[in-house]
Symmetry: C3
Subunit: 155 residues, 3 copies
């Protein structure tokens, strides 16, 4: 009940597939190191004191809470998905924004920067720094594609 | 694994925003006291013995299971979102319905009353009483808007 | 945090309703033995060592993680929803696919067999065996309908 995440890591993946967009998404999950988890999406707050750690392999089949961004698309499309995250400069934790679009990494970064700015304004705080992890894919002819990025909470 | 909620509270919020409906939603979350949590939506059962407590501040960033109703809209629209909940009169816990619509608080209440009635009929039970928590918003010109209501499970 | 499921069971249900598709869905949940739980959907991995057990009644109101397939429909439509699951033949756990469609049980089974095949190819593994649990419903005139199937994780 009400578990409090102690650490997190950020990961991302992308893939094209001739078979289906589901297949592309599954391959992107594999690339991101998340294909062997039971993912459960949550909203977007970093507890005070949480530590950013390097991506790691989690035990297979664990229920894994994460903020997940995903975008799927068809041939010729440019797609992107990303995670932005930053800690408050007053030390009281931080916030996460997810973004996804039919568009480039740069366009998505702008949208996410703006989202993070709104979250800060709303709470009257400033971010110490904002980090981004964004995947972009130009999907080849005769392929489906998927991009994803995730901030994964661990104990 | 399979955590059993021991207490719950009910909260709600609404907001208008010139910026975006996401911004309005975030502000409504702030008003409802839920902006600093990692929310995870679940369906809608009150365990036997669960206690209704007053809204409280939860530790920042906790994974928080809740039944969440939300409605977003644009200028000139009337929107509403609400939670209905009631305990069985035989003492075996209770049920929660969420509702949201482009419409008034009164219309939504009718819909939710009907939903709760269906849940009771289906199980052959009666409610001791049904409580409602509904937010309504008439969105001003040149604004976006969001209403939300939540029944929040705590340990 | 990161709970690891130890056992699972598979269940399914279907129902028609003159009232609404929500009512049909609720009745299908009741038939499946899941109407008294707080369901939380997760993706689709069987941990190594997890045991398949018989469907059982869970304590009312527990937060219950599951892979859930659902399909709702209107009069005259044929709908189906199902779960496919299989263990890797190398002993390292297994995978779950959910499927739902406006279509027959046989059509859905084909789609899900194909999905499971893709999951195996992607990881370079083989399934020892694939099991299916699929509900199909031909919705009567003047009725709504719902089918669901779920793989439910328990401690």
């Amino acid at each position: 009940m009400l578990p409090l995440p102690k650490r997190f890591f950020v990961t991302a993946g992308k893939a094209a597939s001739k078979v289906s967009d589901l297949n592309a998404f599954d391959t992107a999950l594999l690339n991101a190191g998340l294909s062997e988890q039971n993912l459960s999406s949550v909203s977007s707050v970093l507890p005070a004191g949480i530590r950013h750690v390097r991506r790691r392999d989690l035990p297979m089949g664990t229920i894994t809470f994460c903020v997940l961004a995903q975008q799927r698309g068809g041939e010729g499309e440019t797609i992107s998905a990303g995670i932005a995250y930053g800690f408050r400069d007053d030390g009281f934790g931080g916030y996460v924004a997810e973004g996804h679009m039919h568009g480039t990494k740069n366009s998505l970064r702008e949208v996410m920067e703006w989202k993070m700015g709104e979250m800060a304004k709303l709470r009257g705080i400033k971010f110490r720094r904002i980090d981004y992890r964004i995947e972009e894919l130009s999907i080849p002819m005769d392929h489906y594609g998927a991009c994803l990025a995730a901030l994964v909470f661990i104990a």
